[in-house]
């Protein structure tokens, strides 16, 4: 649709207008971490200087998938059926590309094909996504190794670049409502405006940082390399040595979409709940009769890599990883996925 500049002095006014249209979530810094926060009108009074700096930080601790594919939710009831209620329009202002790409994974599994998940789709369609550039990647970030960038190339409803404290917004047709909320606050930018050059410098610098942190590229046929190593127990054992099976890497992962359905009696009926599951769980693949194809942990450890970097690539043409680094940051055993894949 177009490119717009919102000066730093107008940011809070714009946010207050957005609050009338959407439930607005923004990243905020809490101690050393960034977390998603439901913006309240009073936040604009009490924390006026906290919102813009947080947009420049890396992704929040919570993966964005949690907004559409909730950690736990009811998905059926019996005998009376359950259908999703219309959700409130939401705006996630400041997701990062490493959270946008994983939504493609979820779209493919839950939002396309013969069986669509109505609960996921209802939330997905009612959530506007503003994808903020990530000008200050950290040591745990590795999107560049997956051929991705610390800014959005496509997708989302708008792209935000914070340049010298001002907000540069590149808005798609689907994000029109963001500008319509307060058009008087924006200046439309023409091609060749100096803000674009500043944005591009910033993006380039972020890429340089990432390329220095993660200098050695992975095997270009990573899917084939993982598949070829699947039975090499010694290789996986070496890398799994410090794993304590806490599942932190899986629960924090923005792409993992495994789930468990379970039923609970409620009154005279039954509620069916879907909860995130972890493929490291011992009983994950066990069948009713007790047989278990991945009874040994090392098979489950290797299976995770096979699933993300081989099977998903083969089936869907993309890796089920965006290089966000949450798995590494969550790991008590300090297992760095980059080291494992770097040896393939």
């Amino acid at each position: 649709m177009g490119d717009y500049l919102l000066s730093k002095s107008n940011v809070h006014q714009w946010l207050s207008k957005l609050l009338a249209r959407y439930a607005v979530f923004v990243p905020i810094q809490v101690e050393k971490q960034t977390h998603w926060h439901l913006l309240e009108p009073q936040d604009l009074e009490t924390e006026p200087d906290a919102i813009t700096p947080a947009q420049r930080r890396i992704r929040a601790s919570e993966p964005v998938k949690s907004f559409m594919f909730q950690p736990r939710r009811q998905v059926a009831s019996f005998p009376d059926p359950l259908m999703p209620e219309p959700p409130t329009p939401r705006l996630l202002l400041g997701i990062k590309n490493c959270d946008l790409i994983p939504l493609k994974v979820h779209d493919k599994i839950l939002g396309e094909g013969e069986f669509e998940d109505p609960f996921y789709l209802a939330q997905r369609k009612n959530t506007l996504l503003v994808v903020a550039d990530c000008p200050e990647p950290e040591k745990s970030c590795f999107c560049n190794l997956l051929g991705l960038t610390p800014y959005a190339m496509e997708g989302g409803d708008a792209v935000l670049s914070v340049v010298d404290g001002n907000w540069l917004l590149s808005v798609n047709e689907s994000g029109k409502g963001l500008i319509d909320a307060a058009p008087e606050l924006f200046k439309e930018l023409r091609e060749g405006s100096s803000e674009f050059a500043r944005r591009d410098e910033q993006r380039h610098a972020a890429l340089v940082t990432l390329n220095m942190t993660n200098a050695k590229p992975w095997n270009p046929d990573l899917a084939g390399a993982v598949a070829a190593r699947l039975g090499d127990t010694a290789f996986w054992n070496k890398h799994a040595e410090t794993c304590v099976e806490c599942f932190g890497c899986l629960m924090g992962c923005p792409t993992c979409y495994c789930f468990l359905l379970y039923d609970q009696a409620k009154g005279a009926g039954v509620e069916r709940t879907r909860t995130w599951d972890a493929c490291y769980e011992a009983a994950y693949a066990r069948v009713g009769g007790g047989a278990n194809p991945r009874a040994e942990f090392i098979k489950r450890f290797a299976n995770r890599f096979s699933c993300k970097f081989s099977a998903f690539k083969t089936d869907h043409g993309m890796y089920a990883c965006s290089g966000c680094g949450r798995c590494f940051k969550a790991c008590m055993g300090k297992i760095d996925i980059r080291k494992v894949l770097g040896e393939l």
Binding site: P79, M83, G269, G289
Partner: protein, 271 residues
């Protein structure tokens, strides 16, 4: 938009005890579940969970369907406490059907073990419903003891169908048993059909599947003609939850029946 996790109510019309721990349930769903032989249905036992089963009745009659189920875990134990008139939940059909068009004009060699005959019965009934389309249908079935044989009351009738050839074995016989004694592969020393072109269909416990498959390959069956019912943890039924992943396949979506050619490169597929 429909909800793939939502079961529809189905009433238990009648039950038939096949063995001390295997029972056939005749179910009438509120809406027809348009299954074809090979596909499966997720059965909800209200308050106790859900488990996948392949209907064991003919897909030519779908206002009701049968499921022959072994009492083995929490959900099936609770199911065995239900009586005619009680309601369960059902959702499906899921997975792939047998490609019956590829079976036409050929010998079909079916091998079942234990309760594994249940899903094969849906195939068998579909085949005999249009028996003229197929050359011959062989059924080789093994159970632990004569008391463990399912469909005892139906087998004599099936044997009378033209072009059908049935043989049975038990691991442990009793004084009345007149047929072979041994695991089901003892019925396969002579396979009376053209191995190169015939279709083999196998369902049973993993160890039985492993040895039957090997015997079929040794006999000259083509890997693309051996259809195997793979037992994995099929939970969502719609290719999403990934519990049933088997190598490159999700058995709930790509199976549960896969050919040997599809799974032969998977490490230990019958684990």
């Amino acid at each position: 938009m429909s909800n793939p996790y939502q079961p529809i109510p189905a009433t238990i019309l009648e039950t038939h005890d096949e063995t001390p721990n295997i029972r056939t349930f005749k179910l009438k769903p509120e809406r027809e579940i348009p299954f074809l032989a090979g596909q499966f249905v997720e059965l909800t036992v209200p308050g106790h969970g859900e488990a996948p089963f392949t209907p064991s009745s003919s897909h030519f009659k779908r206002d009701t369907f049968d499921m022959t189920i072994m009492k083995v875990g929490r959900a099936t134990s609770a199911l065995f406490d239900l009586r005619p008139g009680d309601r369960v939940g059902a959702r499906g059909p899921f997975g792939q059907r047998y490609p019956l068009e590829k079976f036409e004009g050929k010998d079909i060699y079916i091998v079942g073990g234990g309760v594994g005959l249940a899903p094969l019965r849906a195939l068998f009934l579909a085949l005999v419903h249009e028996i003229d389309k197929y050359k011959r249908v062989f059924l080789r079935y093994g159970a632990r003891t004569p008391a463990d044989i399912v469909y005892k009351h139906l087998l004599p009738e099936w044997q009378k169908i033209p072009k059908v050839d049935i043989d049975l074995s038990v691991d442990v016989s009793d004084e009345k048993w007149m047929k072979k004694v041994g695991v089901v592969t003892c019925l396969m020393d002579e396979i009376p059909c053209d191995e190169k072109s015939s279709i083999a269909v196998v369902c049973g416990p993993p160890i039985m599947m492993k040895f039957v498959n090997q015997k079929l390959l040794d006999a000259g069956f083509q890997g693309s003609n051996i259809y195997l019912s793979m037992e994995t943890n099929m939970s969502c039924g719609v290719g999403q939850c990934r519990h049933c992943r088997l190598g490159p396949y999700l058995t709930c979506k790509d199976g549960p029946v896969l050919t040997w050619d599809q799974i032969k490169n998977i490490e230990n597929p019958f684990a």
